[in-house]
Symmetry: C3
Subunit: 177 residues, 3 copies
């Protein structure tokens, strides 16, 4: 089987509707009997906790929620059976966590391997962050660079890539059989 | 009649050519005998006044200009006759005004109702602001979130949605009969 | 011959894969026997020098490298023969240099003339910077405005315009014969 043959990368700006699009895709998928939602957010302050709570309340009850702010590859490996749909929301929060904890290269390579190896149906949601002015801080520039490079590598591996703008999907790649 | 059956949401980044595209669409529309330009900008400083003046000078003389920094729904209701083309430029300035004046939820709901009710041909221009790094300030984050949510709701209501990049339109939705 | 008949504008966010896309397009082009890479970067600090070195090391050995942080039109005029492919990477760094040196209008007009006059195959790479929050500083706003206006004018002149997201190209315009 080809690498990442069932993986779908869903990109979009902030509040673009990318998560809702990915969830709808997941619940409409055939041959799926189990839905695993992998949340990468860390509730470090009340604003973020509010966002997490709102997202969780909005989700269909069929979702099991797994938290993986780090070691995302291990979460994918634990839920890689055929018939499982795994939605990761979102990669940019996980990237932020890994940069903060200084473990990004190892996290990244493990994730790319796990995506290619998974037999589950994967939906990977990530934020487009590179189309504004390049930020002044070195950490923000690293974040933009690493997000962009990750998206390129995942887009090469995934069978499908979709860009969501105002809740509307544009197909950037569709190699699904 | 379907909701927002003649409404067209035009999205684009800063200086993407979205206003010029929307104006050209308006002036080329059939069955239109009156053109109303709804300007939402507030001239709070000389830089903004320069922008307003440049925009106005560039516009075709067929346009009547109406200013509506707030109470945008009322402006649409006053100009909702069939045969009228109403161009709102732009929604993100209006959002900024409403957040500043602390009346955003009421403004937003009234606008969504007015768009669905209007019998005029509507062109709604708005800035894509969510594809850069999420800004540090809480107010900027609220702005990005509310702009994104508004675009999703309007995109669901409008019959057409276009993204303009470098002056070139990409159709995201076209349900026009 | 039509203006800019062989020119191709390649837009994309930071780390979108726009340079790699443009280089691949250049090397795959038929009827080309010489490849000129016009680098506009200025190594003002070690971070930028690292980026320049990485880019140069990644490039195919067929490329001759020319440096043109300013006077970009002259660089195009020196390499405008048919059978030459000229890749400029990137326009936004050149814009930054010209704004810093206070010579932007003259640089811009000369470049637009040179693009229209060139008989070489041109690939012009530039950063999409206008889809984030409008920055606070006046210089950053000028940068965003001028980048957007330049992209509009070049997109009107060039025969092809491509937007690259996550390494994947979307065609915005293709008037090539």
């Amino acid at each position: 089987m080809a690498e990442g043959r069932c993986a779908h990368l869903v990109l979009g700006g902030a509040r673009s509707g990318k998560s809702a699009f990915a969830e709808a895709q997941a619940l409409a998928a055939g041959d799926v009997g189990r839905w695993v939602y992998v949340a990468t957010a860390r509730a470090q302050d009340s604003e973020m906790q509010d966002r997490i709570d709102r997202h969780r309340a909005r989700r269909d009850p069929r979702w099991e929620t797994v938290e993986a702010p780090l070691d995302l590859a291990a979460a994918l490996a634990r839920h890689d059976a055929p018939g499982t749909c795994v939605l990761v929301d979102c990669l940019t929060l996980w990237l932020t966590n890994a940069l903060t904890e200084d473990c990004w290269p190892a996290e990244r390579e493990a994730l790319l391997t796990a995506v290619a190896a998974s037999r589950a149906r994967l939906l990977l949601v990530s934020n487009e962050v590179g189309s504004g002015v390049v930020p002044m801080g070195a950490l923000s520039r690293t974040f933009v660079d690493e997000a962009g490079r990750l998206h390129q590598r995942l887009a090469a591996t995934c069978a499908r890539v979709t860009l969501v703008v105002a809740g509307l999907p544009t197909t950037l790649k569709d190699d699904c059989p």
